[in-house]
């Protein structure tokens, strides 16, 4: 068979590899173009769902997904979503992150104009299952303890877990994880207090 002879030729190998790579890239480009809009829509819906979870119902009447302001903090860009009611900014929503026991903990929080937290949710973490994962609302209602807290209530030195003379519970067997979450939320409130002008402006 002719293919058998051709297949052993040296030039056949790079040509075959090139053809395969070309076909694979073409297939990926086509699929990527076909799925792009649907993926973007699905991710926007995910974001809207998680934003809506930290924001009390009825507080906003605008599309806060589109009303954003990008701020620089320590070389990183933080996107702040602004929830408005009747054109007036009522709350700011943004993500904060802090190193936990096993990698970064990503947190979404909403802060009202008086600097009080409206809601805190953990978006992503890789803490120990059964110990550190109590920071998820699905597992434990610990994260609800942040609702209504501000830098003035409790005072700055009380923004810590009970082991460090603060007001927030730690978990039996896991102190590093809640400590990181407390630090992240306090950092978020500090960030809001320092940049309030830019956020509302």
């Amino acid at each position: 068979m002719k293919l058998d002879i051709l297949r052993e030729k040296l030039a056949y190998q790079p040509l075959l590899l090139g053809a395969v790579a070309l076909l694979a890239s073409a297939a990926l480009a086509a699929v990527s173009a076909a799925t792009g809009p649907a993926i973007a829509a699905a991710e926007a819906k995910d974001l809207r769902d998680s934003l809506a979870e930290v924001l009390p119902r009825g507080l906003a009447d605008n599309d806060f997904l589109k009303d954003t302001v990008d701020l620089e903090k320590d070389g990183k860009t933080i996107t702040v979503y602004r929830a408005r009611h009747g054109g007036e900014v009522r709350a700011a929503l943004f993500k904060v992150a802090e190193r936990g026991y096993a990698g970064e903990i990503q947190i979404l929080m909403a802060v009202d104009m008086d600097g009080r937290t409206l809601g805190v949710r953990v978006l992503k973490h890789s803490e120990t299952p059964g110990l550190g994962d109590k920071i998820e609302l699905r597992k434990d209602d610990w994260v609800l303890a942040f609702d209504g807290k501000s830098l003035a209530d409790p005072g700055p030195e009380k923004w810590a877990v009970k082991k460090d003379n603060g007001v927030f519970d730690q978990f039996a067997g896991a102190t590093i994880t809640p400590r990181a979450v407390v630090k992240a939320v306090k950092g978020g409130l500090d960030f809001f207090a320092a940049r309030k002008q830019e956020i509302t402006g």
Binding site: Q13, A42, G130
Partner: protein, 222 residues
């Protein structure tokens, strides 16, 4: 024994990816923290394995043996990426549960292993059957390990199965009352321990079967 039932017997028992070939141990250890996770990873792998086996079988005449490995690797990686994108776009809820595992399939050596060991020497139909058999064997192994670890470690069975399979499957979810679970079984050491006991159990069972077969001469050879 017909050809197809031999392929199935190989995939499910004799040449089981995890329990006999000891391939794909990395995803096996990593995702089997619950029966549901094991099942999801197994099903996603099966889908990729069937398609990759068929494609490899289709192009086996064209690909020269010198460059077959890079060609297969590109093929499998492309396939997995397409599945990943398509699931993210069109079955997004399922993707949120399985998303982590899809990308992991690329590094599953069982897929390249089947391309090399079977698909490159057999026709499309036989390769598809092999993909299904091997995939089901893999799914079974992962689900079994996941269920054992979940039961001992968290005191549940098939937790969150309704998220993966739909609300109709909520009846699968079992919670053992009054048992908090031994956390160690969920953590990596639990995976090694459970896999070790299952491998030992399979060996023991096979030895018993062989002894029984030897003790009683079969009528065909007598």
């Amino acid at each position: 024994m017909s050809e197809n039932s031999k392929i199935f017997k190989d995939g499910l028992w004799e040449q089981n990816v995890v329990f006999a070939q000891m391939l794909a141990l990395c995803p096996t250890m990593a995702v089997t923290t619950s029966g549901t996770n094991g099942l999801g990873m197994g099903l996603a792998t099966t889908a990729v394995l069937v398609v990759s086996n068929m494609l490899v079988s289709l192009i086996r005449q064209t690909v020269s043996s010198q460059v077959r490995i890079p060609v297969f690797v590109v093929l499998i990686a492309t396939l997995v990426t397409i599945v990943d994108l398509a699931m993210n776009a069109w079955v997004h809820e399922l993707y949120k549960v399985l998303g982590l595992f899809i990308a992991l399939i690329v590094v599953n050596c069982a897929i390249l292993g089947r391309a090399e060991a079977f698909a490159v020497k057999n026709g499309i139909l036989a390769s598809a059957v092999d993909g299904i058999a091997m995939g089901l064997g893999f799914t079974g192994a992962l689900t079994l390990i996941g269920l054992i670890r979940e039961f001992l470690g968290a005191g549940t069975l098939f937790a969150q199965a309704s998220q993966l399979l739909g609300p109709a499957f909520a009846f699968l979810e079992v919670q053992v009352p009054g048992y908090g679970g031994a956390l160690l079984m969920i953590l990596p050491p639990g995976a090694f321990a459970v896999l070790g006991f299952l491998l030992a159990g399979k060996r023991l069972l096979e030895r018993r079967l062989a002894e029984r077969a030897a003790a009683r001469p079969s009528p065909a050879t007598a």
